[in-house]
Symmetry: C2
Subunit: 338 residues, 2 copies
C-alpha cells in the first residue's frame, strides 16, 4: 500500500489539511512546519494520488491526441512537437488513432472524455459539422491541428499551414520556372485541408497565370506511393501531350509519380519536373532529390499544444486559425525551362 497524505500528517503530527497546504502551497503555513512536512514527504517519497486529486480538482494534466495514423511520419513529427511542450509544462499525452474514420473519431472523443483529459488536440481528415457539434458539446477544449474545419471555419481554434497558399506557391514556382502545362496529382477529395484545399491552391495559381485548367491533368487519390504511381500512369496513358511539370499532394505521392515516370523512360526533371509536399526526411535521400514544400508539423504540434494549454489555464482566447509558414525547397526534381 502506498503512503498517503494521512501517513504524512500522522508522522508530522499535523492535520491532513496542513500537509495538503504545503504540497499545493495554497495557504500560508509556518515555515518550520512546512520544512518538517517537506522532510517527511521526502523521506517517505510521498506523491499525492492523482486520481483522488483529479476527482476534486477536475484536472488530470493529461492531454488527449487524436490522429488518423500513428505510424505516419507526418503525425509522428506532429506528436513529437506536441509532446515537447506538453511534457515541459507537466502534461502527459494520451495518444489515440482514428484511422480517419469519423465514427471512430467521435468514439475517441468520448473515450478520452471518460479518461477526464484536460483537453484534446485533434488531427482529422474531414472535420465537418457533425464532428464540430460533437466537440462543442464536450466539457473540455479541443484544438484542431493540421486540418481546419470543413464546415464553419473559424469556429474552432485551429493550427494549420495554409494549404491553399502552399500549393499555390508550389504551382507558381513551377510557372516561374517556365512551366505552363502543369498537372496535379493529390490526395482524396474527402480530405478537406490536404485534399480539397491543395487542389484549390493549384487551380488558383493556374487561374492567376491565365493558364487553362485541363481536367485530364488532375488526379486525386490516396496519400500513397501507389496512388502516385497509378495516378501518373493513368495520366500518361490518357494524354497524348504530357505535362512538363506535376504538382503533387505529398512527397510520397511524388515519389510514386517519379517511380512511374522513370520506369516509363521519362526523365525527371529533364522531361518532367515534379514537386512534392511535406518535406519528409527521406525526400533528401530520394533520387533524384525531391523538391518540395516544407511544412513543419513539429511546429504545428508545439504551437497547438501551447494554445491548448493556455485555454486549459483559463486564458480567454477567441477561436482563430493560426497559420504555420511553409517554404519551397528546391532540390533536383525541377528544371527551369525558361
Amino acid at each position: 500500500m502506498a503512503v498517503t497524505i494521512a501517513d504524512i500528517a500522522r508522522e508530522a503530527g499535523v492535520s491532513i489539511a496542513t500537509v495538503s497546504r504545503v504540497i499545493n502551497n495554497t495557504k500560508p503555513v509556518s515555515s518550520d512546519l512546512k520544512n518538517r512536512v517537506f522532510d517527511i514527504i521526502e523521506k517517505n517519497n510521498f506523491k499525492p494520488n492523482e486520481l483522488a486529486r483529479g476527482l476534486i480538482t477536475k484536472k488530470t494534466n493529461i492531454i488527449g491526441v487524436i490522429v488518423p495514423d500513428i505510424s505516419n511520419s507526418v503525425f509522428g513529427a506532429l506528436i513529437k512537437g506536441i509532446n515537447i511542450v506538453c511534457s515541459k509544462k507537466g502534461y502527459t499525452l494520451m495518444v489515440t488513432e482514428s484511422g480517419g474514420d469519423i465514427n471512430n473519431e467521435i468514439k475517441l472523443l468520448d473515450v478520452l472524455a471518460d479518461k477526464k483529459i484536460d483537453g484534446i488536440l485533434f488531427a482529422g481528415i474531414n472535420v465537418n459539422h457533425k464532428l464540430i457539434t460533437e466537440m462543442q458539446t464536450k466539457d473540455y477544449p479541443v484544438i484542431l491541428v493540421t486540418q481546419e474545419a470543413s464546415d464553419g471555419e473559424g469556429i474552432m481554434d485551429t493550427v494549420v499551414h495554409d494549404n491553399i497558399k502552399a500549393v499555390y506557391d508550389a504551382t507558381k514556382f513551377l510557372i516561374d520556372n517556365g512551366h505552363k502545362r502543369i498537372a496535379y496529382i493529390g490526395g482524396p477529395k474527402i480530405d478537406y485541408s490536404s485534399g480539397k484545399k491543395r487542389l484549390k491552391g493549384y487551380k488558383l495559381a493556374l487561374e492567376d497565370a491565365k493558364i487553362k485548367l485541363i481536367d485530364s491533368l488532375i488526379e486525386q487519390g490516396e496519400f500513397s506511393f501507389q496512388a502516385g504511381y497509378l495516378g501518373m500512369k493513368k495520366m500518361y496513358e490518357e494524354n497524348s501531350v504530357l505535362p512538363t511539370a506535376v504538382v503533387t499532394g505529398s512527397d510520397i505521392i511524388a515519389m510514386g509519380v517519379i517511380q512511374f515516370l522513370t520506369g516509363a523512360g521519362v526523365n525527371v526533371p529533364d522531361d518532367i519536373s515534379v514537386i512534392g509536399f511535406d518535406d519528409l526526411e527521406f525526400s533528401t535521400y530520394f533520387k533524384p532529390e525531391l523538391s518540395t514544400v516544407r511544412i513543419s508539423y513539429f511546429d504545428e504540434g508545439a504551437i497547438a499544444a501551447n494554445e491548448l494549454i493556455k485555454i486549459i489555464d483559463g486564458e480567454n482566447i477567441t477561436p482563430q486559425t493560426h497559420y504555420v509558414p511553409h517554404k519551397i525547397i528546391r532540390r533536383s526534381t525541377i528544371k527551369n525551362i525558361n
Copy 2:
C-alpha cells in the same frame, strides 16, 4: 455538472449500490430492475467517472509507453502495433518520449506511475541494472520491447527480435553470395540490443565462416544517414583495399553508406554490396532498392501489449524473452560474386 450514479439511483428509485451492480454486473439484480436502470442510464447518457472508479479498483485501463523517439518510424510502427491490441482490449495509451536518456527514463517511470497506469511497455537503449532495479520496485508490471536487458537478461519479460541472429543471417547471406571482405557499419556501442548485439552477430558469422576480423572494417556511430555516410567515408579513406560488401545497423545507415559510395564513384552493388536493417517503407523507394533484414516492429508491439495485458489480468507468467522472427529481403543492393 455531469450526471452521477446517484442521479441514476434517484431517478430509478433504487440504491446507488444497485446501480453499481447493474453497471458492473457484479451481483445478481432482478431483471426488471436491471432493465429499468439500464434505460435510465442510457437516457441520461451516464458514464461512471473513471477517476473515482480507479481510486477504488486500482485500475485505470491505461497503459504507459516509453520510447526514445516518438517520430522515428521504427517506434511509430511499434506504437501502432501496441495501440491496435490495446484499444481493442479497452486500454488507452499514454505515450512518452525519453530521448534514450536513462535519467529521463527513470523520471518517466515515475510520471506514469503517478498517472496510475496499469502497466508499461518500455523501449530503451540500454536497459541496465539500475533501470531494471528501478522497474522492479514499481507496483506495476513492465515489459521490455525492442530491447532486452543488458544486465541480467531473462529477469524481465521481453519481446524482441533476435538481433544477433538477424545480423548473423545478414552477414551469412553476403558470405553465401561470395563475399569475404565484409565491413560493418552499425549503431552506437551504448545501445545494447541494436548496437552491441548486432555487431556480435556480424562477428559470429565471420568467425563461423573462418573469415578474419579486420578492425578497420568496423565502424560504430549513430543510427543516422550522416553516420552511415561518414562511417563509410572514413573506411574508404583509411583502407587501401575496400570491402566487397557492408553490413549495416539500419536502413538509414545503409542509405548514408550508399550515398557516399555513389558520390565516390563506387557502384552499388557492382563494386560493393550493401544490406540494411529494419526494412522501412522507404527502403523500397530508395535507389538502388535496399536489400535488408525485415523486422516487424508492429508485431513486436502487438505481442508485447498482449503479454502485458495478460499480466495485468492476473495471469501468472514467468518472465521470458519472446523472439519475433526476422527475414532477409533481397532487393537491388546485393551482388552475387560467386
